[in-house]
Amino acid sequence: MSPAMRIGLPFAVVAIVLVAWEIAVRASHTQGLVPLPSGVVHSALALTEDGTLFSALGSSLERVVIGFAIAAAIGIPIGLAIGTVPVLDRTLRPVLDGLRGVAPIAWIPMAILWLGVRGDAALFVVAYAAVFPFILNTSEAARRIPRSLFHAAESLGAGRLLLIRSVVLPGALPFVFTGARIAMAFAWGSIIAAELAIGIKVQTARRAVAGIGQLMVDTLYVRRDVDALVLYMIVIGIVSFLIDSGLRRAQARLMPWTQR
């Protein structure tokens, strides 16, 4: 197969499916319930032009990034601590497992009660969702570092601090990064859920903090625009793909020794 064919063929297949879809929807008069490919493109252009899409995306991403950072700042030290100190592991693990069993979404009413609907509630849910992958992966990572590496470092003259800096941290890093990727996926997933849940209230209060989830609620109940809904779903998929490949690339850059 020639390179042109290899790239061209999938595109052609997708194009044919979309055209067929468009024709089927128009013929069956299901517009308004089933999205039209042309409508999605149209929505994309309109919502990009008036800035709605990017401002919503921006405020969602902002919460994801802040929530993710908070989760990392809390989760990595806790993970390192329980991964290296068995007593802490035994005492904290049941508590953590219990907390982990409560789905992040279940916290939304509480979060709204405590933090209001300005977006802080969503931030709380995001941080909560992302903290567990950090804790679990970091503790597992710290536990998995071979004893002989600690022994080697000690017999070469490393003290406690250097052991942490030069053995525990780099030894745990690849796993922590895996945790970060999971945490990011959780964070991005739960921001949408949280915003969906909080959405209506924000709209009635006319807050200017709407994220992409709020926008979806608005689109569903107020504008009733199925094409825009699908556009948002596509955007959510693209963004999470971009974030994950960014993290993977960062891993390759930061940890050349993990490349096989």
Partner: protein, 273 residues
Amino acid sequence: MDAAMSKPIIRLDAVSKTFQAPRGGGMVEALREISLDVRPGEFLSIIGPSGCGKSTLLSLVAGFLSPSAGEILFEGKPITGPAPERGVMFQDYALFPWRTVIGNIEFGPFARGVGRRARRDKAGELAELVGLKGFEDRYPHELSGGMRQRCALARLLANEPKVWLMDEPLAAVDLQTRIILQDELLRLWGDGVESADRPTVVFVTHGIDEAVLLADRVVVLARRPGRIKAVIDIDLPRPRAPLRSVPEVARIVDQLWSVIRDEAAMAIAEEGN
């Protein structure tokens, strides 16, 4: 001989080590009342059946473990923990996967606070000395087994330790590589050079011929609980590398084998049931 007269650099005095087996499995007596003087500058080999406590003995001297009973002295003072004066080479290499060859070699000087330039220069020289020139920027996973072993050796040398504690360092490489590394090890240690400040080597091995070829004395441990079964002087001239094919070596290997054969057979029989 004055080496025998001088004070021991390491003294084990009735050292025992008992482990609490994991998951409540009772006690494992790994070593029982080991008494041994290691002379400064000597090459001491330790052999014995699998599980007889060779690694445990080395870990005790390294300071990774402390004895359940008895005392271990280094230059007259009790060992309280690991220290750079007692360098260790591990059977599984224990190279830092996230450090390059140079980064691994310079770790000791780095940990002891040697400046960047000085430790880099030194690491470069050592890489060349052990035959890793051109591989300085490789990561351990990009090296062959023999090269990793050289890297581990260079890392140990970088600290200029008085004692080299080596746990089956050549067990995981192929025969040709092993022969080459044995010769290089002897050369780096100072085989055939009478020198007062030559490092002291405690070398655990499975290979009787390896022990005979390298060592001044061979300590034979009995199977669990590990006790000293025999200490045998190897009165072969140095340098040793050229002696590889001399009949005398084979004769001593035979003699040593007869000492440990029963132990080995019984250890195997015990493993079977």
